[in-house]
Symmetry: C2
Subunit: 363 residues, 2 copies
């Protein structure tokens, strides 16, 4: 993959600068990589980001570094994206790391864990606070090099057939919610269900489940939940700023020329913001349509949030006592989170609380 192209180099050297030309030839090998996405093609926000990565990397490398994006099922199923990277079936995947908490709960910190960082705070932890380095050390065991490459922002808290007025209403509730979020709901008395995206609607329609969470207004609208579950709760306290991650197989990454590495890093940084901006632009429009179609927007009762906060941190203590890898990153992450939460209460939150309501409250 890093073979010197002697013929080409010699050819250029004969006509152009002998210093610059060999560098071009060496640094621009032709690569054709495969990327498996964990997201269905119908979600232009999530699946579309991988296509955006591929297009930009090609554009920056004179089309020499080509990445072909595959939807779930075309090479491997959605939730085998990391396995496909680890086993060298593909060179890269675009996924949410919390899909893999079954391998190790520590995976959760890469995408975000319950009562975690907002999108901006996750970016700060990853790129400046040491988070990315910790995640890379951890994921080396999986042969994967992760790059933040998208964020959904704070997600919604899910769709329900009946109103939730108090914590007691969660008892026995069958709620579609995977991962650590599901474990928290279990501690609150609910019965978490693991159901793939495409199967949620029929289960909700026939009452096999009472509620389901997915992402936010724009993505949720496409799956049609509002037609069968009128109560739309917020916030998704288990997904405060869910990061989407590009993972590259370690041996492929290590062998990339420096210019291609920089292209991947820069493009991921760009697409990370691009996805967030796309969600922020589309979600309010979708929410208007959902409310116009009869959706009832409700905040979770405070006793639900308070019980969930306690349950979450009890779980983290439990995980930490059993899993040294989890504890190492949790301790670092929690110290960072607590400082971020304090700081964001100052200028940002004070501004938002005043300004976001001022149209209604200042006369």
């Amino acid at each position: 993959m890093r073979r010197r192209k002697f013929l080409t180099t010699a050819g250029i050297g004969g006509a152009a600068s002998t210093l610059a030309a060999p560098a071009i030839a060496q640094s621009m090998p032709e690569l054709k990589w495969r990327l498996t996405s964990s997201f269905p093609k119908s979600l232009d926000t999530l699946y579309g980001a991988a296509e955006s990565i591929a297009k930009k990397v090609a554009g920056l490398t004179d089309n020499k570094f080509q990445i072909r994006v595959f939807a779930p099922g075309e090479i491997v199923p959605a939730l085998q994206a990391l396995d496909a990277v680890q086993n060298n079936t593909v060179e890269m995947c675009h996924t949410a790391s919390y899909y893999f908490v079954g391998k190790d709960l520590t995976m959760g910190f890469d995408s975000g864990v319950p009562f975690g960082l907002t999108a901006r705070q996750q970016n700060a932890w990853m790129s400046m606070g040491g988070g990315l380095q910790l995640m890379r050390e951890f994921m080396a065991d999986y042969n994967a090099v992760p790059f933040p490459a998208g964020n959904t922002g704070c997600q919604m808290g899910g769709w329900f057939r009946k109103e939730i007025k108090t914590l007691d209403d969660l008892k026995g509730l069958k709620m579609r919610i995977p991962g650590i979020g599901g474990q928290i709901w279990a501690k609150l008395g609910a019965v978490p269900q693991q159901i793939a995206g495409g199967d949620i609607y029929p289960a909700l329609e026939r009452g096999a489940i009472d509620g389901a969470e997915w992402v936010g207004p724009y993505d949720d609208e496409k799956l049609g939940f509002y037609k069968v579950a009128p109560f739309y709760y917020y916030p998704g306290f288990w997904e405060a700023g869910t990061q989407i991650t590009l993972m590259v197989g370690k041996q492929h990454w290590d062998a990339l020329p420096a210019a291609y590495k920089l292209a991947v890093e820069t493009v991921c940084g760009d697409v990370n913001g691009e996805m967030m901006a796309r969600y922020d632009n589309l979600n309010p429009q979708a929410l208007r349509r959902l409310v116009a179609a009869g959706t009832q927007l409700k905040p979770y009762p405070r006793d639900v949030l308070a019980a969930a906060w306690k349950a979450t941190h009890e779980l983290y203590d439990e995980f930490s006592s059993k899993n040294a890898k989890f504890k190492k990153i949790y301790d670092h992450w929690k110290a960072f989170r607590d400082e971020q939460f304090l700081w964001f209460r100052v200028a940002e939150l004070t501004y938002e609380n005043f300004a976001f309501t001022a149209n209604q409250t200042v006369k």
Copy 2:
């Protein structure tokens, strides 16, 4: 600048693929551009971002597209950055567009105006909501093509020698605050002062001014205001998410090869998030040091915020009645802002209000 290098092209064509090789040569001319920054070298957050842009663009173009960054005064003073682009003295500048509201108040929307969009909302408006296109049309008259390339987040509200307990305390107060923010403070009874960054400290020390705003904890700490003005107010309601902008001279931009255009765009998208992450990581650490040094952290009284909200929108109506360019962008921006404010009250703000205080309030 787009001259075909026939010799080089022919040389490569002889040895490598006749399809790919000429494309490389054509698309990678050697360019040496000059960028003038509006920010002092001492601010690694702001000045450092331009250096990051230069480094990444060079890395993506095999060092063929070189941008040299100049500090204010090395080519032109800080506030003549746009003039230098317009007059073709430099190819690009890195600046905050609200420095140029003296040319036209419409400039403000590019960096952010009082009671404006947060960093995330500004990104959404720019890249997905149509804002960038509007700003490019407007700035074409100044020969400049703008790119969002950094954000400070919500700034702090400034340093004061005395406590502000009520709106009445603003009467006659000499406050260092430039631009539209200054016009709002004037409507509230204060006497806004225009003072360059380096001159603020001595003016504040000797009592020539009563207060001064700058950026936020990390940048403010460097200028030492805490030593002479103990009261540190929040939020900077006139700077909710100040965007920093790369401006490229239009004829230079138009002549760039597509791959170089993509490099500039992608790098700006990446650095836009990088600067925000750097601030979010550094500000809480600086705030801790400031508070340890005796700084008293205070929210602006609600009557100040409410009066400022009213004064701000009165000013916007006044500007709109006099300036058709301002009105065109204001109407678009305000419709977008109001929808964003409503949407962010749902999941994000509810989450933040609960989670950011839960360490203290949930027992």
